[in-house]
Amino acid sequence: MPFTIKVNNVQYDVDVDGDIPLLWVLRDVLGMTGTKFGCGMALCGACTVHMNGTPIRSCITPIQSVGDASVTTIEAIGETPAGQKIQKAWLDLEVIQCGYCQSGQIMSASALLASNPNPSDSDIDAAMSGNICRCGTYVRIREAIKQAAQGSPASPQGI
């Protein structure tokens, strides 16, 4: 059945069954592979995208539930003020190791920062505990969210 969805401010027509998760439409039908598959059960957060600014797990979101909501993915998060700050802090503090989960981490962190410009440690725990990182970059994820919130310029060498 054909659906029209809006991703990163562009309309796309896709012809898939209504119960197909948004994740696979993004990755395999539209070719936007920045959004990652990790578990398929909303347990790891690798597939996080924004729907009208709210972080959701695209691996359990059927395409038929998207409607005319505005979907934002990692490919366009840098165009939002919060996303830009988060990306910069991620690079300044050298958060990333293998990087596979980081699309989801950045999407969750950007949504947090957009709704809460000054998150406390427990705010960070609540917003980020759904995102698993097997490289264990959590120490720097926390630091980077705080730096992005403060908007403090990083030293040239990062750490």
Partner: protein, 731 residues
Amino acid sequence: MLLQRIERESAETTKSGANLSRRNFLRVGAAAGGGLLLSFALPSLFTRTSASAAEGSFVPNGFIRIDQDGRISLTVPQVEMGQGTFTSFPMLLAEELEVELSQVEAEQAPPSEALYRNQLVGFQVTGGSTSIRAFYQPLRQAGATARTMLIAAAAGTWNVDPASCRAEKGSVIHTPTGRKLGYGALANKAATLPVPKDVTLKDPKDFKLVGTPAKRLDTPAKVNGKAVYGIDAKVPGMKFATLAACPVFGGKLKSVNDSKALAVKAVFQVVKLDDAVAVIAAHMGAAKKGLAALEIEWDEGPNAKLTTADIVADMAEVSKVEGVIALNRGDVAKALAGASQKLDAIYELPFLAHTTMEPINCTVDVRKDGCDVWVGTQVIGRAQAVAAQVTGLPPEKVVVHNHMLGGGFGRRLEVDFIARAVQIAKEVDGPVKIVWSREEDIQHDMYRPYFYDRLQAGLDADGMPVGWNHRICGSSIIARWAPPAFKDGFDFDTVDGAVEPPYSLPNMRVEYVRHEPPGIPTAFWRSVGPSHNIFVVESFIDELAAAAKKDPVEYRRALLGKSPRALAVLNLAAEKAGWGQVLPKGSGRGVSLQNVFGTYMAQVAEVDVAKDGSAKVKRITCALDCGIAINPNTIEAQVQSAIVYGLSAALYDQITLKDGRVEQSNFHDYRALRINEMPVIEVHVVQSSEAPGGMGEPGTCALPPAVTNAIFAATGVRLRKLPIDTSKLKT
């Protein structure tokens, strides 16, 4: 793992650095299209064997190219999987070549058939924390050779003494006159000069880059979704597939009714193999839906009733008999017989899965005349070989396109999934991307072996150890993965971390009883052999200290007379952790100490145990001496990473079998530590000028015993089995 070998190799290299510039190491010539090309043979695992086998031959696997426009590219056989190699290697080269780090671009080498002809040489591998350790000297040597030749080219152009010239930021400068020529302008001329026999390496105290916190070069593409992992490969006309393999290892496909699956929109085909079924579709969503619609009957085979308890019972039995002797020093039997106090213990560690964040996947295009494979692998040569084997094509007809790895941890040292993907792709017209669901990824992993170790020690009247016997029982991964290294019934990996503790133990024996579990494949897991041995040794040393009624740190100190580097990290960790300061009831500190992967490390864990038995790890203080620190920024990150990996396993994880099937299936029952569960982690690095040690793994094996020793301090309960069983800690 294969590391003592490499240690010896690099120790010899360091002693006789000049040998490296001989014909077997490095060649220089003109690059195709102009410029200077240095080809060099970087050591691979088993280098010593291969060097003698290939005496006189030159098989380069690393290349430095200086173009006429001054661009410098470094091609290395290692892969980037988050550990920072693509930053550390260019640092070493840039340091000696006297260029900015930003001028060097790192590229990954394609598989080279020439490298794999010899079974012993054929391991183009990234693993075992070997990268920096094996390449530290050769990369510097290559950089210094290029620098010397570029200086000679400039000196020749100006007709001056090379000694009056210096290299700086990608140019050669004639110091007296200030004349200057860029490397790009000198590259062609340098390519015609003879290779200098001896070159001078920089004194480490003059390092400008090495030892500074350099930014990672591979990360900008990882914040905007542009980085391409294996799972992101895009091939025109590609289909998508997912699969179900027989849930019981060794079982077969009996029958499958695929009519409902084929009725799913966008499903093209169902592929039936001996022991698996795959659904081919226009996208993964349809493939998964199709797979769920299959009605499959399995012939579960001989392991249909297997449980973990069966395997453990078997190990308990076979480990009663003496094993192959890995180490026998002094007279253990006599020492134990004469001891004032004797201790016996059995330690057990579970099967573990890897759960890389990027689920296992592989994209394959099989044609009559060739095969292309798109994958992220730690062993690109083996990937090529296995695809050739399954297709029946000659290896040179198989092209492997390697990608960034969404985590390795040992999983991508295996090619089982590449073989499987090629089997499926053979039945499909055109390229197909095969993605394992997380459930399949966990239930068809190759697992860190179960270990069942028996320990005995005798103490003298002062409580100090006079005899030590450690009998290790478990699977040998080496015997399957690198058969030539499995000698006389034992392998050095399985006993690594057990045979060379930092302690002075005069009468010591380590035995190995090989036990291959039926129905469950085993493989390397982050921190390999030491992943089990350090838990056993550091827990048992703690038991000895307790039996001697001595402080665990004091007790270890007394055994470190011959190991000043171990003593230094122990003291530093204890001091920074506030060892000895009083903690509230229910809290405790525990320590671990090790020398593995060429790095000395001590960790102190601080743990709170609640009345319900739940254990909260509050703080980990880690001190380490990894020799020369190449990139401090990466070292801190790797230690944090390794600790999180070790803590996830220690607190939560085990793979268990029931009815021959792996019981765990996804992140709800095979957990990974989350941000809200993080302890404070402090990393303290001892300044050192020793040869560099590995950093990717030591933090993982050091963690669990520090935590269980802390639990003992808090509760008096000694945990000899992982993962931590909180029901034993209820008060």
